[in-house]
């Protein structure tokens, strides 16, 4: 299996070509922009929380590479409908997977797809591409909570 196959395995390409939750939200609880300083890729994330702290809706507008777009797409599926606490756990797990050398992260069944991104670790420069949506989401959650607290 060539590296190219590895990196662009079907799951990633599927999400790249048909990104889930692509678009925007009118009355979002939070709208945040993320940028990858190394390549300039940008991304806007819209988040809507219920008063009880569930992620009611999430949308992304990205002009990124396949990794970036696919990562955002998979993320949106993984967190939609979850509680903020659970979303933060997933973010934590994902970042551990991407940033730990020999990680032992295991994603449960419905999050299994995320493991497709583990292959990106072979390309250190692109880890940032994969992390961008997740870091933006962290910021979004923070912003939405502050807005709710007011």
């Amino acid at each position: 299996m060539s590296l190219a196959d590895d990196l662009y395995r079907e799951t990633i390409l599927d999400h790249y070509h048909n990104p889930r939750n692509n678009g925007s939200i009118e009355n979002a609880s939070a709208t945040v922009e993320g940028v990858n300083p190394l390549c300039g890729d940008e991304l806007t994330l819209y988040l809507k929380l219920t008063p009880t702290g569930l992620i009611e809706d999430v949308k992304l507008t990205a002009h990124g590479c396949s990794i970036n777009t696919a990562s955002g797409s998979m993320m949106s599926e993984a967190i939609l409908g979850q509680s903020v606490e659970r979303a933060q756990e997933i973010i934590e797990d994902f970042k551990t997977m991407m940033l730990t050398k020999e990680d032992e992260t295991v994603f449960e069944d419905e999050l299994e797809e995320l493991e497709a991104l583990r292959g990106v670790k072979k390309y250190p420069v692109r880890i940032k591409c994969a992390l961008l949506p997740w870091n933006t989401l962290l910021e979004g959650i923070e912003t939405a909570r502050q807005a709710q607290a007011k």
């Binding site: 590296l3 990196l7 390549c39 890729d41 940008e42 990124g64 590479c65």
Partner: protein, 417 residues
């Protein structure tokens, strides 16, 4: 200085050990020369030889090693002076890179000469290194940045330039050659416009000098900045050239050893040019090796370098144009530009392209090339960029094309969403 030796790319390639590098089972095709060039063994050996034979701190040492190191270090100034057609050796100042050279001017000349209301004229194709220092200076001094207009194919619109450069202009800062478009800018005409308005002109030669026979006297510029690592030299050496009268009137930039004439507890007399601008222990080994890099280019002959690059660029543009959905930026006439070809293939993100090419042994660059404002003008996040140098061959262009085909296959080339 130019050479009558014939240009033999295979002979040249043998001087570059890295070209034997194998990546993922394929021989390296290095097409990222606008980022940094590879180094011939002559340059690498100059470094080894320095450390094995005569490494010492320069200027103040009286022992043999220090004298040898000082003579070799100072001799490079003369080599560089001749290469860029400058008048005086003391006008050659060693810095870390182009970026530091430009910052030196922004700090030292800028703070003395740019006043509120003054205008600094730039082109929209400037590298961040020739943009952010002026942006910061303008903000600090309440001066204004003025951007020139570009034509559709990435050349400077000289008609509006004649209006935009005016009596309020203090400085025109312009790249000799664009690292995105490859455009070779009409520096001399811009210099005339600047001088007519009592402004000065700084030329960013980072992309120009490695590829074009250059004379600062012919360009009629006032400052000229470049990096040796883009022209066969080691990392860690840049040059600032400036007109002696300007440099002499400028205050020092960094303070410390070597740049002083005498130090008292409460005051300091500064050294003369060029040392006034070189504080602390310089990058001795790499400066010496930089001289060898210039010698190497002189031996090849800059006319030969240019001719080779025109040939390879013409071929590359021709081949790339055959790709469906490709956009090639900058002038398409290879004689109007250097060997830097930026492009986008619709539906393929440059990052993905770059990655898959790399997996096929082909090194190109993908991204904003430190020209974010230009990317915004072009309405793209980035481009893919192949850039050539003396050791690249037409066959390598074919390998680039083959790898691009492979990338389209892997990514399942679809039209941009």
């Amino acid at each position: 200085m130019s050479s009558s030796v014939e240009f033999d790319v295979e002979k040249i390639r043998r001087d570059f050990p890295i070209l034997d590098r194998v990546i993922e089972g394929k021989r390296l095709v290095y097409l990222d020369n606008a980022a940094t060039s590879q180094k011939p063994s002559q340059v690498i050996k100059a470094i080894t030889n320095y450390y094995e034979q005569y490494n010492a701190n320069v200027h103040r040492g009286i022992h043999t090693l220090s004298e040898e190191a000082t003579v070799a270090y100072e001799a490079v100034r003369e080599t560089v002076r001749e290469f860029i057609g400058a008048e005086e050796t003391c006008e050659i100042i060693f810095t870390r890179n182009t970026t530091e050279a430009i910052n030196l001017v922004a700090y030292s000349w800028g703070k003395q000469n740019v006043l509120p209301g003054d205008e600094i004229v730039l082109s929209p194709m400037e590298h961040h290194s020739n943009l952010v220092p002026w942006q910061q200076l303008a903000a600090e001094r309440e001066a204004k940045l003025v951007y020139l207009d570009l034509t559709e194919d990435g050349q400077i619109n000289m008609e509006t330039a004649a209006q935009l450069i005016g009596p309020k202009t203090r400085l025109v800062a312009i790249t000799q050659m664009s690292n995105v478009f490859g455009t070779i800018n009409p520096v001399k005409e811009l210099a005339h416009l600047a001088h007519k308005n009592n402004a000065i002109i700084l030329v960013d030669g980072a992309q120009g000098i490695p590829h074009l026979k250059t004379s600062v006297a012919d360009l009629e510029c006032d400052f000229y900045a470049f990096s040796l690592h883009k022209m066969l030299g080691p990392t860690g050496v840049g040059i600032l050239w400036g007109k002696k009268t300007l440099l002499e009137a400028m205050p020092p930039f960094m303070f410390g050893g070597d740049m002083i004439s005498s130090v008292h507890r409460d005051k300091t007399k500064f050294n003369e040019l060029p040392w006034k601008f070189e504080a602390g222990t310089p990058n001795v080994a790499d400066v010496i090796a930089s001289g060898v890099a210039v010698d190497y280019l002189n031996n090849v002959g800059m006319d030969n370098v240019r001719a080779h690059e025109i040939a390879i660029t013409r071929y590359a543009i021709e081949k790339l144009s055959e790709i469906k959905d490709i956009v090639i930026y900058g002038p398409l006439d290879a004689t109007k530009r250097g060997g830097v070809v930026s492009f986008n293939i619709n539906g393929l993100h440059p990052h993905d392209l770059g990655q898959i090419l790399s997996d096929n042994g082909v090194a190109i660059r993908a991204g904003h090339h430190c020209c974010q404002p230009l990317m915004k003008d072009l309405k793209v996040m980035g481009t893919a960029r192949a850039s050539f140098y003396i050791y690249n061959t037409l066959e390598e262009v074919d390998l680039l094309l083959a790898a691009l085909k492979e990338a389209e296959k892997v990514m399942g080339h679809v039209a941009c969403r």
